[in-house]
């Protein structure tokens, strides 16, 4: 992009003033005095001024305090502040209507007040510096927005490599469908193929679901709960869990049930997603063949806790806060950084929460709180 070199401020950044006064004579004098230096637009009532502001951008709004209209100067400027907070507001008073001015300043409605009769050079200086302030503030805001946008892009870049890996694997799995018709014709048994295909589709759906949460408009996780026996539900999840290669390489994976029967209202599929995620993370952090992951159910008066403990290295301090945010991963290219952020949303949708604690003897415990 090439930048034009201009001698003065660019056209769109010209000093521009909206001057409001109910005395036609004052409007004429003001315009005649300043139009050589700044763009002047005038209005003879608060109502007209607001109508003009809706159509155009005014860095500076100057209003007379006393106006015949039902809206006086400070009331107008209060409205301007609410709707166009960046415009620099000034109040003009014919006499030292001190109470009104002090009130307006205290409310933060005006940046400056000017007493009549104004002195040409003074007022011009004031208007020009106010315009500069306006454009600087505007520029600052734009830069901040650009910076935020850039940071977001960087975050997306981080997650993309993980995502591509994930998608490529799913595509590889789904490609098994290409040959199925041929296999069927030959009378081959395709039961296993279909299983693999279903697994791929499921993985894809999970990926879409977790990404949806971080796309625009998404945000809420919907849970449809039903009351279940928690130990039994988790016992069933273990079957699925043991299929994961990370979990397979554990030395031990066990469930320590609660002495009493614990029934809670949960969305079993969603809670399964959380437990699978946390157990997989835990298993991945341990040394192959030496890892142990324990799932314990602990019952309290108002809540039930599921505590998942591993004997890995624990969570390193720089990750403590970030693991709950999306797009952060300690697993390099292996993780999309969506897992735990997703878990948090699911637990919160249950009215519960998720937390973790590094253990002094190594490893860490993730605790899922589920309200009864």
């Amino acid at each position: 992009m090439s930048e034009k070199i201009e001698s003065g401020p660019p056209a769109h950044r010209r000093a521009k003033v909206l001057y409001v006064d109910d005395q036609q004579g004052n409007l004429v004098v003001f315009k005649a005095t300043f139009k050589k230096f700044v763009d002047v637009v005038t209005a003879n009532s608060g109502k007209e001024a607001l109508a003009l502001l809706e159509r155009d951008e005014f860095p500076v709004v100057i209003s007379d305090q006393k106006m015949g209209d039902e809206m006086n100067g400070s009331q107008l400027l209060a409205e301007v502040r609410k709707r166009w907070p960046d415009s620099v507001r000034m109040l003009l008073t014919a006499y030292t209507d001190f109470d009104a001015v002090v009130a307006a300043i205290n409310d933060g409605q005006i940046a400056r007040f000017i007493t009549k009769p104004w002195e040409r050079q003074d007022l011009l200086g004031t208007i020009l510096s106010a315009c500069e302030l306006y454009w600087k503030t505007k520029e600052n805001k734009n830069l901040t927005e650009q910076l935020l946008h850039r940071e977001r892009l960087a975050a997306i870049g981080q997650v993309t490599s993980g995502l591509v890996h994930e998608l490529a694997n799913i595509a590889a799995v789904l490609s098994i469908a290409e040959d199925l018709q041929e296999d069927l014709k030959k009378g081959m048994d395709i039961t296993k193929d279909i299983e693999i295909l279903q697994g791929g589709i499921e993985k894809f759906m999970v990926l879409v679901e977790s990404l949806r949460i971080y796309s625009k408009g998404g945000g809420a996780v919907h849970v449809s709960t039903q009351v279940v026996d928690l130990s039994e539900a988790i016992e069933n999840m273990l079957v699925v869990l043991r299929l994961f290669p990370q979990v397979k390489q554990l030395k031990k994976l066990e469930l320590v049930p609660c002495a009493e029967k614990v029934v809670v209202p949960i969305d079993v599929k969603k809670i399964e997603q959380v437990i699978v995620n946390v157990v997989k993370n835990g298993a991945e952090s341990t040394k192959p063949g030496e890892g142990e992951v324990t799932i314990a159910i602990r019952s309290a008066t108002t809540d039930v806790f599921v505590e998942i403990t591993d004997n890995g290295p624990g969570i390193p301090p720089p990750a403590w806060k970030k693991i709950w945010e999306g797009f952060y991963s300690t697993k390099g290219e292996k993780g999309t950084g969506l897992g735990l952020a997703m878990c948090r949303k699911i637990m919160e949708a249950h009215g519960g929460s998720i937390s973790f604690e590094n253990l002094p003897r190594g490893g860490c415990t993730f605790s899922l709180r589920i309200p009864r």
Binding site: H165, N169, A172, I176, G199, P245, E284, K334
Partner: protein, 114 residues
């Protein structure tokens, strides 16, 4: 010329591994599956005449750059296709993007090799 019809396939994702083995077998080759670099070392010792391999790059146990450097040093006379979604340095081997186009892969293996 290598008349051994075996291809060693290495991938940590069991579903991807299953699909790859199936495609390779359908084309008339013998597929030997390995779940990561370590398992692959075990398998290549069990099949001393095997000289062809399809391997994933990112794997939890013995993958990545170290795995490729290992193959360069100890399997330099092999024909190896490295499958990856990222820019990797495949060394002397063939690098192909994931998901693999098996026709292309098998074309690489059908060429006469030393």
């Amino acid at each position: 010329m290598n008349d051994d019809k075996k291809i060693l396939i290495v991938d940590d994702d069991p579903a991807v591994l299953f699909v790859a083995c199936k495609k390779v077998r359908a084309a008339g080759w013998d597929a030997i599956a390995a779940v990561d670099g370590l398992d692959a070392v075990r398998k290549l010792l069990e099949h001393p005449r095997c000289r062809r391999m399809i391997t994933d790059f990112v794997m939890p146990a013995f993958g990545g750059d170290a795995w490729i450097r290992f193959l360069e040093r100890f399997c330099s006379e092999w024909t190896i296709v490295v499958a990856s979604t990222e820019d990797v340095d495949p060394g002397q081997f063939v690098c192909m993007p994931k998901p693999l186009d098996f026709e292309n892969v098998l074309h690489v293996f059908s060429r006469e090799i030393r």
